[in-house]
Amino acid sequence: MAAGGALSLPLAFLLPLLTALVVFLLGARRAPWLPGIGALATVAAVADAVRHVAAHGPQAYHLGGWMPPLGVELYADGLAALMLAMTAAVGLAVTAYAGPYLHDGHHHQEAERFWPLWLVQWAALNGTFLAADLFNLYIMLELVTLTAVPLVAITGDRASLGAAMRYLLLALLASLAYLLGVALLYGGTGTLHLRQVGELVGAGGPAAVAAALITAGLLLKGAIFPLHTWLVPAHSNAPAPASAVLSALVVQAGVYLVLRLWLWTFPALLSPAVGWLLGGLGAASVLYGSLQALRQSRLKPVIAYSTVAQLGYPLLLLPLAAVPAAAAQAWQGAAYYIVAHGLAKAGAFLAAGNIRYSLGHDRLAGLRGIAPELSVSVLALGLAFVSLMGLPPTAGFLAKWQLLSGALGGGQWPWAAVIVLGGLLAAGYGLRVLAMALAAAPSDEPVRRPPQRLPRRMVAVPLLLALAVYLLGVSAVPALRLLEQGAPEALG
């Protein structure tokens, strides 16, 4: 029953939207259970969609039965399904975590604002993954941005406001660059549909300019070096749940789109030079982000910079995509990287949120000797970091292995070197944090006030996310089989 499966695509988009509307109208105070219901419903819809994609291949759905170009098509292939699933997992976790975090009496107005914003954003993210034409992508991206910015600013202090302002300006600029590119493409091909554009677009000048504009916009939204400047203040000043979704989902959507467009829409333009340029940017953000993370003195900036670093890895696929010997493995690696990073990063930010929540700060130096009180959160943080380091037995490792094998198989040693080096640097900053957490409290300093008691759910959620990364680390085969649905021949 493919139709039912197809039907679950619009549901995956509409359910969170609907929930957001109701929550907005009722007010989160009056219906604290509502977001949970909505999240569960969304997860169910996504699960159904994933099941159908896995069973019957790519699914398409035309809203209201209108055909393109004017109608809106929702399209889910393996990659999209994987993203939907990852988003659903993170979304569920964040929803579960945000409840106690926001409704503890300290965060009223944040609670009021958070739920609608986050639920709309979830819808927009699903839309981004499902959108089948360039303009809908634009709408969804804008929607994501316009919900992400307030999430950054939600606490309303000067640091977060400044970060949000900068984020907004740059994001709007990026969207306009994207839109301009789309306009040029439409002018050239007369269509907006991802695959049709891909078939019609030539290697000519205007197409190249359009691709450049679009890519630039997406790289900025994906916070790829050197367009990452806005990310760190924004992500490290937001409240924990917001940081989690921003780092795990929002920026990754940008990277996802870079891959999507270059592999589906502009493969004709993907010359080795372009591949090396984009891969080089990816490598640069891997190294730069890691090195910066090593120099931070607070926990959340460390995690934020590690986001910059992790976002670079998937781009390493682009130089390899053209090499037959390497493409398939590199592609699996890149896709799995996004999934692994999403889960691990959400877990890390939520765990960091716990630490900050109970200590009232996240200075690394102040973490000495906290392990006993916050052992579970620290454990979750550590487990998540292990995946970011790409060490077994985590999903991060499997992704890294595939990407590395691809790089070696393609005979492109530099990328392999970058991958290995990036792992070591990640180990460097990760263990800098953990060492502080494992360290004994300095004997000379007076006993600190016992940290604030953590609600049980807030303790459990990050740990579960981290453990999920290990579950995916035991075997990537199911996920990668799903990924094959509707993948371009070059990558099959």
Binding site: E142, L146, L169, L176
Partner: protein, 100 residues
């Protein structure tokens, strides 16, 4: 000089002004305005595209422009709110990192 060509020319002029303003100006309001200019330039370009085939108007770009304007308006609104909150919070009219 066809009408489309004219539109395109105007669009690029607007875009130039927008980018210039966005880069050179530090005052938040001016930047927001610059962004709007840039957006309008893109819309103008789309409108021009609608007429690239003589004798028939392509509806799709118009649909895009309409939607785009809605998005732009909401984005501008958000930007303005943020700018005001920021000013209220800090007394600054521009982002601190941009000084000097």
């Amino acid at each position: 000089m066809t009408q489309a060509g004219l539109y395109t020319l105007a669009a690029s002029a607007l875009a130039g002004i927008g980018v210039y303003g966005l880069i050179v100006r530090r005052h938040l309001l001016r930047r927001i305005l610059a962004l709007n200019l840039l957006g309008n330039a893109v819309f103008l370009l789309l409108v021009a595209l609608a007429r690239r085939h003589p004798g028939y108007v392509d509806p799709v770009p118009h649909a895009m422009v309409l939607t785009g304007i809605v998005v732009a308006v909401s984005a501008t609104a958000l930007a303005l709110v943020l700018a005001r909150r920021y000013y209220a919070e800090t007394g600054l009219r521009h982002l601190p990192e941009d000084e000097g």
